[in-house]
């Protein structure tokens, strides 16, 4: 496949992801707010899964700064298995989500796109 076609395809993939990234972060925040007000295991699992998913995808799609914060946020969840542990970690989790949002604000689409293209065209491994 010619290089320009590859770049076109990668760019389309990137924008498809990027258009939904803010929504993914807001979804995490919404789940946290819901859980903060009233604990339930299902919402906790959904929140953990949403954070884990963002951890996996953000780095792949060039959003390194977001990924660094999400990795830290997910680590806070590793030891939580119930309401009491969640309550103890609540403030830390809120802070972690805030940092993820800040890293989203501080990342330009152009910067992330360049990271993504570099990684996928062997310019940088």
């Amino acid at each position: 496949m010619p290089a320009d076609e590859t770049i076109q395809e990668l760019t389309a993939m990137f924008f498809n992801y990027s258009q939904r990234l803010e929504q993914k972060i807001n979804h995490i925040e919404g789940l946290y707010e819901k859980l903060k007000n009233r604990w339930d295991t299902e919402t906790f699992s959904e929140l953990y899964h949403a954070i884990h998913s963002l951890n996996g995808s953000s780095g792949i799609y060039g959003y390194q700064k977001i990924n660094q914060e999400v990795v830290q946020l997910e680590l806070k969840f590793k030891e939580i298995s119930g309401e009491s542990q969640f309550l103890l970690e609540k403030e830390n989790i809120q802070q972690g989500i805030k940092l993820v949002k800040q890293s989203w604000t501080n990342t330009t689409t152009e910067e992330a796109l360049q990271n993504f293209i570099k990684k996928n065209t062997n310019v940088e491994k």
Partner: protein, 136 residues
């Protein structure tokens, strides 16, 4: 025992964004024959007919997670010998050790480098074949 180059992969991943980049990486760049499944249930349905050389299994999936899917695959006599690689977001060393003790032949961490994912899997496959030859 298989003795050929890696060709067919069954990749089980619930995240569409990850499947999209993996498809580009493994099919277009890596020239591998890949069947994508979005859940463990779907993987169990198709694994026998597709007969992959290797299964790549996401750990955290809603419903049947990667560990449950792994155990269910190992209980199916027709496919229990197909090697499985776990794929998971950046994780702790003790978890990787646990996945290997469970029987996974290796673990790939996300975010993976999509430009070398096919090469990584080919290397894992070759190491697996060599180990199989040494123990047979």
């Amino acid at each position: 025992m298989p003795n050929h180059e890696l060709n067919k992969i069954l990749l089980v991943e619930d995240e569409e964004d990850i499947r999209t980049i993996a498809k580009f990486s493994l099919e277009k760049r890596g020239h591998l024959n890949v069947k994508f499944c979005s859940s463990g249930y779907e993987a169990l349905d198709v694994v026998e007919s597709f007969a992959p050389d290797l299964i790549v299994l996401d750990v955290m999936m809603p419903g049947m997670d990667g560990i449950e899917t792994f155990k269910a695959l190992k209980e199916k006599s027709a496919v229990k010998d197909i090697p499985i690689v776990f794929m998971t977001a950046k994780t702790q060393t003790k978890e990787i050790t646990y996945y290997k003790e469970l029987g996974a032949i290796n673990v790939i961490t996300k975010p993976f480098n999509s430009s070398i994912l096919a090469d990584q899997l080919r290397e894992i496959w070759q190491t697996y074949l060599t180990q199989q030859e040494q123990t047979s």
